[in-house]
């Protein structure tokens, strides 16, 4: 091979079938004619075993590129079903896949792309009970999950088993990518010893993701995975790559191995997998915040009272861009502006506050009650419930 590698490749177990067929030589010819891959690299890819955690936004381009590149065995872990909101970014799936298990749709797509490779499917949640068993047969683990408990679980399991963890995460239009768990390199806990407490949640208006962002970040994860397998180039071990799609700017930060890291440090205190949901301080996948007990009105009651001609003031506490999607004709004051704009409200009138699902408006009702408002109710279930129970022409988002 022409170039000297400074990173050790993941070492797939030797397999008997370490040759390429005539058809494979043709399929991979654009790899084979490149000295950085060549026959040697392509055979390493064929013998490699990569486990992808998640087949969503990050897992989609990742799975596609690994399969296309001829990674011999690809494991997929997911428990979700395809829904129509996934299609904006999860390019493994087609419209006709809506309602199917992601695992089944993903496996079909990847087998269609490359019938010569083995696709292993695990339709399950990754847990502390099954992670080590699932990981043990693979050389490289790629983290394409979407929550803190699973990310810490993937990290710790990789460290315990000595396997590299190709990490990517996204938020709106920003991404972070690196390789953890490589011998001598840092792990996720060296970077972030603890997850954020569940109390510090951004408002829902901060949600969302630019559809192409996971495509870019997942593709970078694929590139890092392929480089680890063929043992070429400079990996992201020890570097955190930050990507901002809005500014279209990449930046790079140094990552260091923390000698006091509880998992990969000199005196580790975490020597087996723990309860990561508890570690992250949340009860479950959806992490619902404790429901505040504020006076509520159901969509049907509200409809009845409006039809009867009652003088009700509808207060919409969502963001302006959400108001544009759909609205109930209410007066818009985003939750974050409420304390500043409270004088726009007349406390002598009956007020019904609503948001998308009823959570932000519950906060608004609580705040307004503390500010002396007495005739105020929260629309139970928000616009979503209004659409379900009263007016199905109102779109849900």
């Amino acid at each position: 091979m022409a170039t000297k590698s400074d990173i050790p490749a993941a070492q797939p177990q030797a397999k008997a079938a370490a040759t390429l067929s005539k058809e494979e030589i043709q399929r991979y010819s654009r790899h084979l004619i490149m000295p950085e891959v060549g026959m040697d690299g392509q055979l390493k890819l064929k013998q490699a075993k990569v486990l992808c955690i998640g087949t969503g936004g990050l897992g989609a381009p990742l799975g596609l590129y690994l399969a296309a590149a001829g990674v011999g065995r690809i494991g997929l872990v997911d428990f979700d079903t395809v829904d129509s909101t996934n299609l904006q970014r999860q390019i493994l799936f087609s419209t006709q896949d809506v309602g199917r298990p992601k695992i089944a749709a993903a496996a079909d797509r990847l087998r269609g792309l490359n019938p010569d490779i083995q696709i292993d499917t695990f339709e399950t949640r990754l847990t502390s009970e099954n992670a080590l068993e699932l990981f043990k047969d693979y050389d490289i683990i790629v983290d394409g999950t979407d929550n803190f408990p699973t990310r810490y679980l993937v990290n710790d399991a990789c460290i315990l088993l000595g396997k590299p963890n190709v990490y990517g995460s996204i938020f709106r239009f920003e991404g972070q990518i690196t390789v953890f768990g490589h011998p001598g390199g840092p792990c996720y806990r060296c970077l972030y010893p603890e997850p954020p407490p569940p109390g510090l949640v951004p408002s829902c208006a901060e949600g969302g993701v630019l559809g192409v962002l996971p495509g870019i970040v997942g593709s970078i994860q694929a590139a890092e995975t392929l480089k680890l397998i063929i043992g070429k180039g400079e990996s992201l071990v020890g570097r955190l790559l930050l990507f901002d799609a809005l500014a279209m700017r990449f930046r790079e930060l140094k990552l260091r191995k923390d000698p006091e890291c509880p998992v990969c440090g000199e005196n580790p205190t975490v020597t087996k997998l723990i309860d990561y949901v508890q570690f992250c301080g949340i009860r479950g996948e959806e992490a619902p915040a404790p429901q505040m007990t504020v006076p509520e009105i159901t969509p049907k009651e509200l409809k009845f009272r409006l039809d009867r001609g009652d003088d009700l003031y509808i207060l919409d506490v969502r963001e302006p861009h959400e108001f544009q999607i759909c609205n109930l004709g209410g007066h818009l004051i985003p939750l974050g502006d409420l304390s500043r704009r409270v004088n726009e409200l007349d406390s002598s009138r009956e007020i019904v506050a609503h948001c998308r699902s009823g959570k932000r408006s519950a906060e608004a009702v609580e705040f307004l009650r503390s500010a002396g408002f007495r005739k105020i109710w929260n629309l139970k279930g928000g616009i979503l419930a209004w659409s379900d129970e009263v007016d199905p022409t109102v779109p849900k988002y």
Partner: protein, 106 residues
């Protein structure tokens, strides 16, 4: 010294929606104090109640983590870029609204 602090996307709502803020500071600690005095809401997102930087937030001067420099005493020079880099977890099935929990948008 005028330095630039880059605000990450999840924290921009608490920093006047700005991508970056220019400040006069001699150390990282001064820069962050200046930032949180200008944007008081940012404080609880950056610092724990004991005043220490939260463990899911890292701060870099240029490309170096201040935990491996002199922490908040790390001096800054004109033109240095201070980056605040919180952990984010988004990536798969949900919206990516995951700065602080994996909660879906509500």
């Amino acid at each position: 010294m005028p330095v630039k602090v880059i605000i990450p996307t999840p924290l921009r709502p608490y920093a006047g929606k700005q991508e970056s803020v220019e400040l006069e500071a001699r150390t990282v600690g001064e820069a962050l104090a200046g930032l949180t005095s200008r944007f008081s809401e940012l404080k609880k997102h950056l610092f724990a109640e004991d005043g220490r930087l939260r463990s899911f937030v890292n701060v870099y001067v240029n490309d170096e983590d201040i935990r491996y420099l002199q922490k908040d005493q790390t001096s800054v020079r004109e033109g240095d870029i201070i980056s605040i880099v919180p952990s984010i977890a988004g990536g798969s099935a949900t919206s990516g609204a995951t700065f602080a929990s994996q909660a879906r948008p509500y």
